[in-house]
Structure formats: C-alpha cells, structure tokens
Amino acid sequence: MSKGQLYPTEPLKSWGMAKKAREEFYLDYRDCHAKGGIRWAGGAWALDALTYGLGDDVFSITSEPYGASCAFNKDIAMKCMETAEKYGYARDLCAYMRIYWGSVLTKGTYPWGGDYPIPDFIYQDHICCSHAKWYQVIVDHEPQIPMTCIDVAPGPFMPGTDVQIKPHQVKYVADQMLEAIEWLEKTTGRKFDDEKFIEAVKTECINTSTWANICVLNKAVPAPLDEKTMYSLYVLNTLCKANKRITPVLKEVYEETKDRVARGIAAVPNEKARVMSDTQPPWGFLKVFRYLERYGVVSIGSLYTFGLMGIWEVKEDGTWGGRTLPWEKGIEIKTREQAAYVNADWNLSKPEFQHFYHPKYKTRMMTRIAKEWKLDGVMLHYNRGCEGLSLGIAENRLGLLKAGVPVMIFEGNMGDEREFDEVATMARIDAFMETLGLKKDY
C-alpha cells in the first residue's frame, strides 16, 4: 500500500479496447473512400442513427470530439485556431468550432495523419446557437459539400419526472428526420434501408442506456471509475452512438466496472472525498484531475460525462438510472416512421439538452447526482470555449449552493489554452480542498 492508500486499485482492463475503438473510428473516416465508402460530418449530438440506413460502409466524424482530440495536442489546436482567426472569425467563438474550421482550412492538421478528410455531406443538428452555423461556415469555404441540419430544440424532457414533452414536439423532430432520409438518398444516390435504420435506433438505445448504467455503478464507495478515465470511455458514444461495433466494448466496460464494485477496486486508492465537475474540461490540462488525487479526492464524473451520451430516467424507486429500452415497455419499432419517432423521443431526453430551456433543470439533475453519488462538492468549469454548455452555469452555482452543495468555480476554455490559467486554477483547488477539510496525502 502506498502512502494514504485506503482501497485496492488496478488498471482498467477494457481501457485498451476502448482506445482501439476510438482510433478505428478516425482511421475509418479517413480511409473509407479507398473502399468505396461514404464519409460525412456532423456533431456528436446529431441524430446519426439515420445514416446507418445508407449502408455499413458509411463513416462519420463528429466535430466536438474531433475538436477535443485536437485540443489535447496544443500545437495543432493553436495552429487551427489561429487559422480561423486569420479568416476573420472571432476568438470568443466555440473553441471546438474554431479548431475544426482551422483544421479544414489548414493542411496537415488531421491528428491521425494527413490533411483533414473533406466529408461527402454534412448532417448536423442544432440546439445551441453555433451548431447549424458551424457547418454553414464550412460550406462558405467548401461550397460543394451538401448540408442539412435538424432543429432539435422543442424540449424540455426529463423522463420519469414532471418535465414531459408533448407528442407534437417529438413529431417535429421525427418529421425532419423522415425528410432527411429523402435528402440522404438524393445526396448519396443510395437507397435507404429501413431495417438498418431500425437496427441503429435500437443499438443507440442500448449503447446510451448502457453508458448511463456504467455511470450508475460509480455511486459505489470507493468509486470504480474516475472522471479522467471516463473521458476515454464516454467518448465512444460521442463518436458513433448508434454503431453496433461499440456495443460489446460498452458491455465489457459495464461488466468490468461491476466487478470492480463487487471487489471494492477503487479508481483513486486514497479516496476520502468525492466531487464532480461540469461541462467539458480544459482538455490540455487534464492533470487537474490527477492533482485532486493528491488530496484523496475522486471526481466521479459530471453531468457532461453522464448526460451527453447517456440517456437517463428517474426510476420507480426515485433514483436516476439508464432509461428503459423502448421495447421493454412494449414499444415496437417496425417502420421508419416509428424508428424516427423513437429516436427523436430518445434523443430529446438527453440530460445535456435540458439546460438549454432553463438552468433549473440542470441544477435539479446536478443536485440529484450530488446526493445519489454521495458527493462532498462540485467543481464548475466556467468554460469560455462552449457557450452551449456554459449556458446558465452561474445560476447552477447559485442553485447548488442553495441546495447545500459546496461549489468551486474555475474559469477556462476546453480548447483554447490561452484562456486557461493553470496556476490560478490549482490555487483555487487548494482553497476548495481546504474548505472541505482535506490535506494532501503526497
């Protein structure tokens, strides 16, 4: 046992499997043209199950995880952002977006080698001010790329609570999806396969509910997973949440995490206190989470890691868990119309969608996590890089404090290192730890 160690620990065995799946995603996207495949671009939030109806050789790149991957490499990120600025785009815009634009506009910035592979079409969705405009700007520079975008802003919706969505609101999104099928057929010249679409809708339900259930396992003390590790796992659903190739990876992660809970294996062996963060981290400075460990603090995740690609519901016993799969509630999916409706309904309940309508929904979910996951405090990242996920964050701070949850805030940027003050952030963490009565173990 090392100094301060309270629990046994061991590396996550499924880690390598998850990393490999992630790398394959980016390589498949880059190389698929050589095999006659199609590649497309859109956000991680896009209703991508639809594109599986075009065939098994259709690969996407999701722009936010791509921006995050570039941001982890500060040199590439800077090169891309400075390019975007030279084209006249403001420095306070979404950092992922500026990195993505810069990568499209600059040679040799694809982190897996070569130039950014230009997509055959763009299929996006829009909930924050930047989502549709992100690709509108790309088409300003690459006018040959066909683009469509779905409006997904008719919520809010929190299954199992009094916040319910109305049928016409789900229908609005589903109708746009059905229209997009015709657009996809026209754009790609391929016939749409309803069976493949239905299978993808079901796969997405399984993958995103499974991820939520993995997060549920982190209620255990000690926590089997820490936030930094979770970033390498949650990312799979941000890349291809409707892809059946990642289902076994997520199942493996679930089983291993469950086993860790049963055996009392800790992510942070000196766990004495538990916190969560919020929104995207400053990707170039993930060492923040390792610094917490010196105090014996584990960050068990965040609403972002839980709810961006996990779909949740309040269960009958009042706890939060993975949303019940539609067919387990007797909902059949036999036609493309049913599949579109189910997929719209499923996505509209995404926890990370709800604060777009009011910060009170996010405060409610974070307060729930603080209680159910037995937290000692919350770290809010005032993230200058994302106007969507920082939306209402100041009210979340007030709401959490009112609910009796200690809160620390730090200001930064998920992708632009020029807006992150590492020394000041560490000093804030020191002060926060002191208020929680914690001292460094090492």
Partner: protein, 377 residues
C-alpha cells in the same frame, strides 16, 4: 407633434408604460426577443412591451450570467434586478439566442411575476415542418394566456391583434420608404426612436402617433445635409449615442438598417388565413431572420440586407456586433465579403453596453473619408 414624442417614449419608457397600463387597465407582459407573438397578447388585451437595457454600467448580473455572454443580455437582466420593471405582470420569451434566453431564465428565477412563459419558437424556420410546429406552439401559448387571464381568446380577438400589429408594420414600412429619398425627411436616429416606441408602447396609441408622423414626413424637409448614406447591420442596436454621433458629428445619415430594433422587427405582415394560428406561424417563420435562425446558403438575411442596401442607395455599411454575440460573429465574415463584393465598403465595430464615442468617431471618420475619396481627389 413632431418626432420628439418617439424619443420621449424611448427615454421615459417606464413612465409611459405605467401610464398606459393604468389607463387601459390591461395586464402588461415584458418580452425579450422580437419573435414574441404580440398579436396573441393584444388578443387577450395584454400590452406586450419589449425589455431592453439602459446602456449604463451595472454590477448586479455577475452572479447570474457568466461574463462570456453578451453585454446586452446582462444589461436587460439588470433592469429587472434593479426593479425598474416592477409593474410587469408577466414575462415571456420566444426561443431565440442563448444569450438573451439567460436574461429570461434568471428573471424567471429571481424576479416574481404572475406569468412566465417560454415559447418554443423553432430555429429551422425555412423548413416545411417549422410552421405546423409553431402553429401548435402558438396555440399552447394562447391556452396558457387564457388560463392566466381567464379570458377566452376567440378568432375575432386574434384578428384584432393582427390588425393592431399589421397597422404598425404598414405605417413603419411607409415611413421607411420615405428614407429612400435623396434627402430623407427623417434621420436614422429618429427612425430608430420610432421602432423603439412601437416596441415599448401600447400600439393602439403609438399607431396614432405613427399615422401623424407619416403625414408630417411627407412634406418635411430637414435642415441638414444628408451626407453619406449608411446602413447599420447588427443585432439589437438601440445605441442611440453612436447613431447620434455619426449623424450629427460625422456628417452621414443612416438610411436603412438590418437589426431587431429596426427593420427586422416589422418588415413583413401577417397574411390573413382562415386558420389564424397558421397565419401567425407563417409570419414569424417568414420574417427576416435573426442569424441564429438563418442556416441556409446563401443566408436569407444576407440576400435581404443586400437588396435593401441597393434599394436604399447605401454607400457604406457599419457592421455592429454586440460583444460575444455568437450568431452575428458567425455571419459577419460572410456579410462583409458579400457587401464588399457588391461595392459597399464595410466598417466593423464591436459594441459593449456603453459606447466609446471618441475611438468610434475616429474610426467612422476614417471610414467616411475612404467613402468620399473620389470627391477629395
């Protein structure tokens, strides 16, 4: 009467609004964005008034809205936190940009009102499914108003609301046409005061003032040189001090604008349909869009603004951006490129709550000198 009345309404909005409320006995609802369907509120005998900021430095919103969001939304919230709108019975927003949405949600959390409503205005307004969706959302809003006021809103009531708003729009359009003249009978500053008075006032009263103003303007001659004909492009631009400086000190005139305290607010009418809510939905989806709802190629707003620039004989455009306004930041490079390709030079200025008149004057003077160079040499 003169144009002074509109300025007076703008500068003394709270006094007027309290008086109008008392005189009419109506409830008053503050709205945060011009996608608000005012027709439905007038149908219920509610006076809708737009909530804008006061352009004063403030220190009350820091705990509520993170400083990376636009100063305008923080200025708007500050008005509520300072109690300046304590006479409002309700608030509502039609879903628009994230920034102003926060002014609404923080208001909803911290400033008690009897009625608060978030209307799911679609973003993808050009899509065929947007109008039926909005139609249903408008009916839901109407239902909420009925539940709050106890008044059943009949088709004739909606017709009344449409008539009030369409009258405002028609009169403003007629006045705006007069601005095409070689020597417009109205300055840009006066024009903006008019639109703001419409947003702040009881339109049943303001329409009478517009009618009188239109008659006066038909024969009015201004005792000033028009100078360079400018367009102002931006988001919410009641930056009167700036407009005044350009028109009185720099020797130019704003003859047209593209922003939501100007033309974008009133440009298109509700076209009558048997289904009133479908008619309203069509109007709000088809209006000149805010950039957050303008996703198509080429941008609808850009095509519209360029046409206006040509029709109103614009020599140069000042592209104004509220600091941190993402939707506009996402359009500005495309706008500047298209305007300059059309032979209309642009000047980009970033605005905060207060206007730095000195530095802006130097930049505007330099811009105007550039426009005038053919005369110089």
């Amino acid at each position: 009467m003169g144009m002074e009345v509109f300025k007076d309404i703008y500068e003394n909005r709270h006094k007027y609004q309290k008086e109008w409320k008392e005189k009419s006995g109506s409830k008053m609802v503050g709205y945060f964005c011009t996608y608000a369907p005012e027709e439905i509120m007038y149908a219920a005998d509610i006076i809708p008034v737009r909530i804008l900021g006061s352009h004063e430095p403030q220190n009350v919103t820091e705990p509520h809205i993170f400083g990376m969001y636009c100063p305008f939304c923080r200025d708007v919230l500050a008005q509520g936190l300072k109690g300046r709108y304590d006479y409002l019975d309700g608030i509502m927003i039609a879903q628009s940009c994230l920034h102003i949405r926060q002014a609404y949600t923080s208001w909803d959390l911290h400033i008690p009102v009897d009625f608060s409503y978030y209307l799911n205005m679609p973003h993808r307004v050009t899509n065929q499914h947007a109008k039926p969706f909005l139609r249903q959302e408008l009916i839901e809003f109407k239902n909420a108003i009925e539940a709050w006021t106890g008044k059943i809103i009949l088709p004739a009531d909606i017709d009344k609301g449409i008539e009030i708003l369409n009258t405002t729009r028609r009169l403003l359009r007629e006045i705006w046409d007069l601005r095409k003249a070689e020597n417009p009978p109205i300055t840009g500053q006066e024009a903006i005061y008019m639109v703001l008075a419409c947003q702040f006032g009881d339109k049943r009263e303001v329409n009478k003032l517009l009618e009188e103003a239109l008659n006066e303007l038909k024969t009015r001659k201004l005792d000033r040189e028009t100078g360079n004909r400018l367009m102002i492009i931006g988001s919410e631009d009641d930056d009167i001090a700036f407009i005044n400086m350009v028109e009185t000190v720099c020797g130019a005139t704003f003859v047209i604008e593209d922003h939501c305290t100007g033309s974008r607010y009133f440009w298109n009418q509700v076209e009558p349909q048997e289904d009133r809510y479908a008619a309203l939905a069509a109007r709000y989806c088809d209006r000149p869009p805010c950039p957050t709802k303008d996703w198509v190629q080429p941008r609808d707003r850009l095509v519209w603004a360029l046409n206006m620039a040509k029709e109103w004989g614009v020599e140069g455009a000042i592209v104004v951006q509220q600091k941190f306004c993402d939707p506009h930041e996402l359009d500005i490079p495309a706008f500047r490129k298209a305007f300059e390709a059309a032979g209309i030079p642009t000047l980009f200025l970033e605005f905060d709550v207060t206007v730095p008149l000195g530095p802006f004057r130097i930049r505007v003077d330099a811009f105007l000198e550039m426009l005038r160079q053919e005369d110089l040499f």
